[in-house]
Amino acid sequence: MAKAMTQAGKLDRRGLTDEQLVAMLRNMLLQRQLDNRGFQLNRQGKIPFALGSEGHEAAQAGAAMAFVRGKDVLAPYYRDLGLVLGCGFTPLEMLNSMFARAADRSGGRQFPNHYTNKEMGLLSISSIIAAHCPHAVGVAYAFKYRKEAGRAVLCCTGEGATSEGEWHESLNFAAVHKLPVVFFVENNNYAISTPSTMQMGVEHVSDKASGYGMPGVLVDGFDPIATYAAIKEAMDRARNGGGPTLVEAMVFRYLSHSTDDDDRTYRDRTAIEEARKNDPVPMFEKRLLDAGVVDEAKIKALKADVLRETNEATDTAEAFPLPVAADLYKNVYEGAFEPWQ
């Protein structure tokens, strides 16, 4: 698997410009900031629920960089904050959803982290694990059917989702029809409390690709550049009629599954502390510093900037109104509609 290049020395930037590299770092810093904000607001009793992606930042910042706005479609899963941010989703949208504001695109209906934004090409998802995978395949079919070459779908899940029958059926359908879709699995080795050793009989999700007749790629999800390169190559293959790819990025879930979970009952601390030692965010900071892509001042500025943006989004969202009771009845069908007419 493409190794993380923590060591100093020449940065293999895989064609990424300074601007892109900085954008990736900023994305990672923003994710971390927004995650912290969510947990902070939850502790303050201002929101009933928060879910973080700490440990997934690098993989998501890298993958998002391979997404072409206005062309590609993203079928994210709930832990993809960094991916959706990288595709255009704003901190304000995230805070609106955390606060369940009327201004939230789902009108405060969805749980936080159930991103949707059609203009941006973010598919709306339910909480049902893997249920969005066939939708991603359907969108890819539409691209192929309309001969819209150069468009591809990025479909994301965790490794636990790969056990669902609908995940299997999605990969099979995409493979049979050689559809422009990339299945991106963020493998943090846990599904809530269930370790991947009890989730599957293979060590790596990417080992499953050959059974569908598609390439399987394993990448270090702590390395945003390596992840970018893997997703870029897969998306390009999809765009050029090469069919689907299964990409697995190895990541780590630093936090509990969500604020409703307490992982101390099932994960021992030392493993987490170990993993914290190569936290992808400071690691990438250092790489860009070592390579001279950024200096300390730039990093300070970026951190200040994402904090400011997060604060503004928080204040704005908090001031926004909640939906009203009457909103419950909207958008069941097109137009007002009762089961008894």
Binding site: V73, R105, S106, G107, R109, Q110, H114, T116, N117, K118, L123, S124, S126, I128, A131, C133, P134, H135, A136, V137, G138, V139, A140, Y141, A142, F143, K144, Y145, G165, E166, E169, S170, N172, F173, V176, K330, N331, V332, Y333, E334, F337, E338, P339, W340, Q341
Partner: protein, 327 residues
């Protein structure tokens, strides 16, 4: 007007949709080379090509789920479940996803999808080729469910379903496929979803039914005319939404209601109809609301005596109608 059976009506309607709108495509098991197991899509593959007539892998969740993605992206997929008995694996995609796509995105995404499937018994289909499924879905907000019984209604309602902006479950009773024939207007027309149809006017009692049973009920009502009983027969056609107005108007006139359906009685569609009337027209009624339905057993067996015992005979319908009229 051309005379055709229900299979022809479905075929003609699908064919017209494929001709008129290249966003429409048909997907399902054996809908291509085989032309569907009832030969409904025979010749479509040759005429419209494999991109629009998709022989899918044997996996119902993905048949519906992939169609949902197509619909979210602006196509107009018509998904087929080969037999209604095989729709269970797709339940999550229908109930959890299709029905909630518009709602959970607050209108950002929509799901204009039609799921067609043959249902019902009386064809020696045994346990797994004869079930009725409407009651497993009619409770679900976000879905529309149609079960027309005549060729003309099929054409009008299937066309409406295909043009509808929301997901529609379209049920075709197998036993009516070739046994039921009727005149079908030429050209494009739709029948509004949610409107029942009075197939026979009457004054002594109201019968509400749908699907194959409608034809038996009409037969029974005709025969009872001779004995001086005037039975009104309402073909529900649309199960969700349901037509309160037509049912209440009829019951207000006849003051007696009999609901007939092949599906199991307990928790069946008849339960909601009865409950609605008991709420809205309680004092209009001169007799208890009756339900004549399939027995509460899992399914009809393969052996003829088991199938016949499950299905509701026209004689039993006549008896129930007479009893109610005389009440």
């Amino acid at each position: 007007m051309a005379v055709m059976n229900n299979v022809d009506a479905v075929r003609e309607t699908l064919h017209d949709a494929l001709i008129n709108d290249d966003r429409t495509l048909i997907m399902g098991e054996d809908v291509g080379a085989r032309g569907n197991v009832f030969l409904i899509t025979k010749g479509f593959l040759e005429e419209f090509g494999p991109e629009r007539i998709i022989d899918t892998p044997l996996a119902e969740a993905s048949i519906v789920g992939v169609a949902i993605g197509m619909a979210m992206e602006g196509l107009r997929p018509i998904a087929e479940i080969q037999f209604a008995d095989f729709i269970y694996p797709a339940f999550n995609q229908i109930v959890g996803e299709a029905a909630k796509t518009r709602y959970r995105s607050n209108g950002d995404y929509t799901c204009p999808l039609v799921i067609r499937t043959p249902y019902g018994g009386g064809v020696r289909g045994a346990l797994s080729h004869s079930v009725s499924i409407e009651a497993l879905f009619y409770h679900v907000p976000g879905l529309k469910i149609l079960a027309p019984s005549t060729p003309a209604d099929i054409k009008g309602l299937l066309t409406a379903a295909i043009e509808d902006p929301d997901p529609v479950l379209f049920l075709e009773h197998k036993k009516t496929y070739r046994s039921v024939k009727g005149e079908v207007p030429e050209g494009h027309y739709t029948i509004p979803i949610g409107k029942a149809d009075i197939k026979k006017a009457g004054t002594h009692a109201t019968v509400v039914s749908y699907g194959y049973n409608v034809h038996q009920a009409l037969d029974a009502a005709q025969r009872l005319e001779k004995d001086g009983y005037s039975i009104e027969v309402i073909d529900l056609r649309s199960i969700r939404p349901m037509d309160r107005t037509t049912i209440l108007a009829s019951v207000g006139k006849t003051r007696k209601l009999l609901i007939i359906h092949e599906d199991n009685k307990f928790g069946g569609v008849g339960a909601e109809i009865s409950a609605m009337v008991a709420e809205e027209a309680f004092f209009d009624l001169d007799a208890p609301i009756r339900r004549l339905c399939g027995p509460d057993v899992p399914a009809m067996g393969y052996a003829l005596p088991l199938e016949e015992e499950f299905m509701i005979s026209t004689d039993r319908m006549m008896r129930a109608m007479r009893e109610l009229a005389e009440f």
